[in-house]
Amino acid sequence: MYKSMVARYGYKLVGAALVAYSVVMGLWIEVPQLPILGQSIRNLFYHVPLWFSMTFLLMLSAGNSIRYLSSSDLRCDALAAAQVRIALWFGFVGMLTGMVWARTTWGAWWVNDPKLLGAAAGILFYLAYEVLRGAIDDADRRARIAAVTNIIFFCMFIPTIFIIPRLTDSLHPGSGGNPAFNIYDLDHRMRWVFYPAVVGWMLVGVWLASLSARLELLHLIAAGILNKSALRSSSGHEG
């Protein structure tokens, strides 16, 4: 009993605490003063974790799609769909925060940069997935077709991220001779906010997705496709 309570609430509490901590401390701590970057370096705590969490959620979603295909359990499908939905939101917010940062440091809202193109490609992939889901009415058929599509998309999304940087040079940290996180990581104070932020946003993302999945299950129950017991046992199914 105690164990299941920890599994149910533990990660939500930890995630919420870490996000709250990183949001406050990200504004509070002293950061290295670097030319051009200036105070905008603090965006590292908000922009970068969102991308990490997006990819993490998409990975979980692909895993849930595989689980759906092997079990035909609609709860797995609801989770996979919800994780993509939350990942898309993270993607949009990540893109907005990235644009603000790009405007400050590079002088333009959008540059033809591999990392940005990769992000745009990812959003393109999963918006197509959302349209596909919207186009099918029957729940079981939708689940099966969406699961197949999700797995294929994930397997093509990952190569896309790695291939795009081969095409052009990049302004983005970590490519084209630009320093990556190493220069920030040298500063241990920032590391103490950055890593908690990454873990925190990932956990909160999983939490949000599980809520969204429960909402979808409620719709399915209201439509008479699932019975009520699906909702009760689904709480142990996150992740």
Binding site: L69, V131, R141, I145, V148, I152, M156, F157, P159
Partner: protein
Amino acid sequence: MWQQIRWLTHKEFVYEWRSRYLWVGLLLYLSATTFLVYLGIPQPEPSLWVTIYWIVLFFVAVTAVARSFLQESRMRMIYMQSLASPLSLLLAKMIYHGFQLVVLAFVAWLLFALVFGSPIVQTALFALIIFSGSLTFVLAFSMMSAIAAKANQAMLMTLLCLPVILPSMLLIWRLSEGVLSPKVGSFPWADFLMLWALDVILLLLALILFPYLWRD
């Protein structure tokens, strides 16, 4: 299994031969698009030439491969399902449309060379890229055609094909840029291998996932 694939491929060829107007339609589509591009950009730069070539071929490929599953009537699908395993059905479709698309791609090259002139310096390498690129298109689009058919939405076809071909398309563009210059050593073989690696991934995904999609 091999027997089934041979039989089904044979069936595809015979069926398509009996409805030759489909080929004529695709060729017409290709020429009309080329003509339209010519009206807009009479003399494209070499790198633009390559980009337009592959975009035109993309849409031709989507139209051609979409037919593999979208066109079949429901009754015939059920009949097929009772006769052959899903994998042989998929592979037969891929073989036929692979053949079709390679032919179309070379016709498109010919057409582009006629209309715009050909900026390709290393012809043999470009032929190799065209061959590999067409195969990639078929491997990626056959599955999408099956998905669109199962969803009963022909509109989804283009929408799904666009993301799934994205990584391969980027590699194909990069490879095609390589054959524009006369420098022999400049061809990016690493990217070529990566394109084939993506092909292998697409094929494996199709073979693993198609049976799930197929059962009703």
